[in-house]
């Protein structure tokens, strides 16, 4: 019965693994819902800001902030790479990095050097292995990322942009399409890609306190931060969705495995019983 005992312990261990994956799946499902709520909660802020910014840009055409200026010739570009802090979420992070690598290869072919800022420990780990010029990083943001955790990382990039060290900034993160699908996307952050100045139906302007430039500067920094924040929150929702799907697949696989092992176990047990009976019968016949 040695074989049967081994199989039994194996079944028990797979069962406990299945319990864990099942629990993770359920936790991820509830976290995903919350992350989606956060995703929609952060939208009004950025939308309102964009409205004000485009108004300001229209109202004060003589002042163009460097973030809104026309494209410069690109020699170096910055990528803010948003990843998860934890693994076990399917191919979410590796798909993102693969997409990024393809992009970087293209840029290098065009003679553009990339620099990186990482958010989340998986991205940091990736650049440790892959090698790359990482300027700043933020990790351990948790399930509820806060904007103050991102300020530093974003500022490093914006400073580099203003000093002319880099000529464009991109955000690399996952886009939440639906629970089953997350798509890695690369979005341009700076220079701001916006609508062309539209003709206002009639002219009106704000009273500025203290003046238009200060207000516009303060707004733009916050706007960019809020965009990065949105990407981080969206990536968080993607992470939970991907984990939920991956853990569901793992639980199902564990279920199949248990079923197969149970069959093998039953057969082994039956064989042992048959053998014992035939031994007894042949023993009795010999007497």
């Amino acid at each position: 019965m040695a074989g049967a005992k081994e199989i039994r312990t194996k079944i028990a261990s797979i069962k406990s693994t299945q319990k864990i994956t099942k629990a993770m799946q359920m936790v991820a499902a509830s976290k995903m819902r919350k992350a989606q709520d956060r995703m929609s909660a952060s939208r009004p802020y950025a939308e309102k800001m964009l409205q004000v910014i485009s108004h300001l840009a229209n109202a004060t055409p003589e002042y163009r902030h460097s973030y809104m200026a026309v494209e410069r010739e690109r020699k170096r570009v910055g990528y803010i790479v948003v990843s998860s802090d934890r693994g076990l979420c399917g191919g979410l992070n590796s798909n993102l990095f693969r997409r990024l690598l393809g992009e970087v290869k293209e840029q290098r072919a065009a003679g553009v050097e990339p620099v990186f800022c990482t958010i989340g420990s998986k991205a940091l780990g990736f650049f440790k292995r892959f090698g790359g010029d990482v300027k700043a990083q933020a990790t351990q943001l948790g399930d509820k990322p806060h904007i103050e955790d991102l300020i530093g990382t974003v500022k490093v990039m914006l400073d580099a942009f203003e000093s002319g060290e880099i000529d464009a900034i991109y955000v690399v993160s996952n886009e939440f399409v639906n629970t089953m699908t997350q798509r890695p996307v690369i979005r341009q952050l700076v220079p701001i890609v916006g609508d062309e100045p539209d003709n206002m139906p009639y002219h009106w302007d704000y009273i500025y306190e203290p003046d238009a430039r200060t207000v516009l500067d303060a707004l733009l920094t916050r706007y960019i931060e809020s965009l990065v924040y949105q990407s981080v929150v969206e990536n968080g929702a993607c992470e939970q969705a991907a984990r939920m799907v991956a853990m569901k697949a793992a639980s199902d696989n564990a279920g199949n495995l248990i079923g197969e092992l149970q069959l093998v176990y039953n057969k082994a047990r039956q064989a042992a019983i048959t053998q014992e009976i035939s031994e007894i019968v042949s023993g009795a016949a010999a007497v």
Partner: protein
């Protein structure tokens, strides 16, 4: 019926308040401002302090903001509140910190950072205290 103005208070992490008001008070860059309905278009940075919203029934609601932007249009007031404590030095410090983390992580506290942080925290604490004091006065009176 009294004239009212729509008020939205939003921060990056979500909406805080939305409703109508007869008067809105806020601490703008150059001093406290009161916004009545049909106020002319106005935009300003906010200092740490409280935003008071007075509704049709004469009740006041207080919201504490640690900074942000105030945008006024004749029928809408929007407060884009900061959730974080912001100051130039502190932003520098945060950037510095992010860089240091990256360097450390790829290879393996400065007094200035601590000072800037303490200063901004103090400014915020003072503003918070002021907001609380005002609240007490309102409640008491």
């Amino acid at each position: 019926m009294a004239m009212t103005i729509h008020v939205d208070i939003v921060c990056a992490e979500g909406a805080i308040h939305s409703g109508t008001a007869t008067m809105v008070y806020a601490t703008a860059e150059m001093g406290e401002v009161g916004i009545a309905p049909r106020h002319t278009a106005f935009i300003s940075r906010l200092r740490p302090g409280d935003v008071r919203v007075e509704n049709e029934h004469g009740q006041q609601e207080h919201f504490y903001v640690s900074g942000g932007m105030l945008e006024v249009q004749p029928n809408v007031v929007t407060v884009l509140a900061d959730t974080a404590i912001r100051a130039h030095d502190l932003d520098e410090a945060a950037a510095f910190e992010a860089k240091r983390r990256a360097e450390e992580a790829l290879a393996g506290h400065t007094a200035e950072f601590e000072y800037a942080k303490a200063q901004a925290e103090l400014a915020e604490a003072v503003a918070q205290l002021r907001a609380i004091e005002k609240l007490r006065k309102v409640k008491g009176g």
